[in-house]
Amino acid sequence: MALQILLQLIVTGLAWGSVYALIALGFVLIFKATDIFNFAQPELMMLGAYLSFTLITALKLPFLPAFLVTLVLMTVISSLLEMMVIRPLVGEPVLAVIMVTLGLANVIRGMTGLIWGYEELQFPKPFSAQPIMLFGAAINQAEIFTILATALLLVVFFIFFKYSRAGLSMRATAEDTSTAFLMGINVKRVFTASWAIASVVATIAGVLLATFTYLEPIMGHAGLKALPALILGGMDSVVGAILGGLIIGVAENLAGFYLEQYLGGGINEITAYVIVLIVMMVRPYGLFGTKEIERV
């Protein structure tokens, strides 16, 4: 019985961790390419979830087409945001850019509340609510799906960044913009693409999260866990963001169950920050953060 509970906890933790990981991944993608920290990333996630909710409930689209249409819409929205709001800020002080992305986050959150209301909304479940049995443990299908979908997405990402011309040019730009120009890389397009891809990742995270929770305008607060995931993994490491997210998802879930009786409720809320504090003391640049390669 104890093992079954552990298995359940780990699966739920991995599902939440996948969502944190994807939000953190969105942060890293934009940060690496453009040096901008996009505080609106969790709100993009939320917007994606709400948009596909509307497509499913109001337009009566089936889950998958609705999801794909949402991805297209979010790509367009975030590309426009990058070109019209963010790009004019290139060269402005870092603080100004931070304020703008924070403002963007608030605008998106406010508009979501205005349009969809502040009530919790039930996302139409694409999976049966019937749990599946795994080694005697009852596991939520949506959680399994979230984990598998995240894994698949990461494989696609890996292949894209490792082997495609566009992926390679994005990595080159992320490392050294002015040399990227010398390669003939269209750097502006890379900046836009990084926002577009980050919004795709965010939308996937949002829809997945909605399948095992519900919609509300503050669901972006899951992003508050993505931040420690990011710091844990190292701000500029894609692998770090993913592992950081998974570690925090699992750890807070385990702590919430096993430590609650000793430390009281709410322990799961602070687990992420406790872990980060401990890691920071040992490795201030995160588990996978920049090991600035020394030039020989």
Binding site: R165, L168, S169, R171, A172, E175, D176, T177, S178, T179, F181, L182, M183, G184, I185, N186, I293, E294, R295, V296
Partner: protein
């Protein structure tokens, strides 16, 4: 093929860095572009590559023509597409990318298919056999000499007709510099690529170049065929270090040279 006319460049709207320079690089030639620290050599290359707008620099006067076309308003992609590539100062390899990926990214603008790419990839490794043993290593971890070779290989992959190299000898052991200069000469001869070679190592540069320009404080102060420059007393003194015990003055202050205007239009 490349012709710069009376180019003036200003940084941050006030700092005048190039004060009307003119320079020409003919087809399939090696041109040495010499001058001391801060003379404006890298700025000239940045202007040609179209990078100035991104460095808060601006061309305020003059033109850059490439094969008869005015190109000084083009963006960097377009310049690379025309066949002008640059090996930047300090090599600037993508340290987190592998050696192989660095070579691939050099071919970013090309759309002539896998086979052509493969052919040039093999060719570039034939020029730099040292790289073929390091293909899967992150470029940040290979030696300085290998990084310089990689930076040249990367620029080669764009299939340039003009390759601009910014101080390729910087920080390298003399033997390695000789090796790299030999390869530059070979690439120039075999691929008919023009080379604009920025150097502080004047002796090495003039040894492989047909023609040289010497720049001081944003101006070309002397130019001529390499052998003539090497015989020039001032060049000997200030750039070839042949009278190094003498007190060093700025080249521009030396009054008695006569500036040759042969290459100016």
């Amino acid at each position: 093929m490349l012709r710069i006319n009376n180019l003036e460049v200003v940084y941050n709207d006030i700092i005048l860095v190039l004060r009307g320079i003119s320079l020409e690089a003919p087809e399939a030639a090696i041109i040495a572009f010499l001058g001391s620290n801060g003379a404006g050599k890298s700025t000239t290359l940045r202007a040609i590559s179209g990078l100035l707008p991104y460095e808060d620099g601006e061309i305020t006067k003059g033109t850059i023509e490439y094969r008869g076309e005015a190109v000084h308003t083009f963006d960097p992609q377009r310049i690379v597409g025309l066949g002008i590539t640059q090996v930047p100062e300090g090599r600037r390899v993508f340290a987190e990318l592998t050696v192989e990926e660095n070579i691939r990214v050099g071919a970013h603008t090309r759309r002539d298919g896998k086979e052509e790419f493969r052919r040039d990839y093999d060719r570039v490794l034939a020029y730099f056999p040292a790289l073929s043993r390091r293909l899967r290593v992150q470029a940040g971890f290979v030696s300085g000499g290998e990084q310089q070779m990689l930076a040249i290989a990367r620029a080669f992959m764009a299939r340039p007709s003009l390759m601009m190299l910014d101080e390729p000898s910087l920080g390298l052991a003399p033997l390695l510099v000789t090796e790299i200069f030999d390869i530059i000469r070979k690439i120039n001869a075999e691929e008919r690529v023009s080379v604009l070679l920025v150097e502080q190592n004047a002796l090495m540069a003039l040894a492989i170049a047909e023609y040289g320009y010497i720049m001081e404080n944003g101006k070309i102060v002397l130019d001529g065929p390499s052998h003539k420059l090497m015989e020039n007393e001032d060049v000997k003194e200030f750039y070839l270090g042949m009278k190094s015990d003498k007190e060093r003055k700025s080249f521009a202050e030396v009054k008695h040279y006569k500036r040759r205007k042969r290459w100016l239009s």
